[in-house]
Symmetry: D2
Subunit: 135 residues, 4 copies
């Protein structure tokens, strides 16, 4: 799937749409989203809310999976996040990378970075393939 096709997928996803994510780049097992700064993504103290970074990481890994030729849909079964620094009034870039394409499970990592590439969060995510015959 091309970057434009992924952008359409993202636009149809009601929840992700509300964050304003943009697909910046997509490659073999990778996907980069941009999270444009918006006041309504802040938690008290003027910091970008943690769940925004988690939503970006979840979406970026999901799109990296969908981008693969012959993909099927997949659902998140596990996610872990380390929050390293606070994002303040800045756009955020989230880059996902697939670590392993298993028969059942797909493992990925993602990093969110702010201004000048400062690392804000690190995420580990496991997706399970959804077998259409098993639904």
């Amino acid at each position: 799937m091309s970057r434009a096709a992924l952008a359409r997928v993202l636009a149809r996803a009601r929840f992700s749409r509300s964050f304003g994510f943009r697909v910046e780049a997509v490659g073999a097992g990778t996907c980069t989203l941009r999270v444009p700064f918006r006041r309504r993504l802040e938690r008290p103290g003027g910091v970008v809310a943690g769940p925004v970074l988690m939503a970006a990481a979840d979406a970026a890994v999901w799109l990296a999976i969908l981008a693969r030729p012959g993909h099927e849909d997949a659902v998140t079964i596990e996610m872990q996040t380390a929050f390293l620094a606070a994002g303040r009034g800045e756009d955020i870039r989230c880059r996902a990378r697939i670590l392993r394409w298993g028969r059942r499970l797909i493992h990925g990592v993602a990093e969110c970075r702010g201004r000048r590439g400062r690392l804000l969060s690190h995420h580990t995510i496991t997706y399970m393939r959804v077998d259409p015959r098993e639904r």
Copy 2:
């Protein structure tokens, strides 16, 4: 802090507000939020998006911390989520419980449950106290 005071804190938190969380109960080291069902919290496939559950868990632990007499603010430094089942067209209840009040760190767990108490997700969350003198 009373349940009403926590509801006001939540209402001032721009990001959490967008989810429509309601404070249902607050006790010693516990807090229960309700997430009323809304179409715009869905991911494709008619399932409540995973980041909604994570945002609820994060907020519920945060409010359980703020509810404690003599609290200070605290920030999330780590969060882990296991997604156990999909929420579909249903209200969700998220109950947080503090495991340990440390001098620097506060550890909590949270569970999101759907209709008839079905377990949807389990979360482990670590907060770090924010020392006003150190900011």
Copy 3:
């Protein structure tokens, strides 16, 4: 499987055996192990090493799975640990509880406690069933 049968399984597991775990109790979706104190399980500073608690939690969830009638073997695919307090010169009790028996995945939690029930660690663990036909 009875407690005695689980103890035999544990005794055959070369790696777990080296820790001296004892099966204390087994129930429906639960298993409790005891980790008798041994100097060689310490890290510098006279503290029980973190990986000892993780190994106990991993083993306790595994035994809770094997104890179920009609069980198959299962392998750990994900584990998360929050270390809450240090164990010092004390026996440790690790209690595992299965949160969900899925068709493919089994989710569990475990807690390690020291003297007088003090909580030392909290673990979230995901196992995947091993289908004998697929090996």
Copy 4:
């Protein structure tokens, strides 16, 4: 601290010593350990036990911290592991890398790889600095 000095630290750590870890390399915020294959590190099925990989990752991040000039000791407060593939009858290399040196917290990641660099596990670890004045 040099590689030889770290090897001495590791040799004094009773628990880690039992695994036979070898310090292969140490750099700025990185450390690589080798886990020589030993039958007694196996779980049933002839697979290297998961806690061996977790112990290696924990030790590798710890040594990367100690290697830094002016280091203090630090304790693990959180660890997350994704198990991607099974190690069978093979030496394992575990490489840790520090993501962030915070004032209180140090965040790192580690990867264990087997034969021909095959990725076996990915770990995220958080350490807290131990302030000698606060003990």
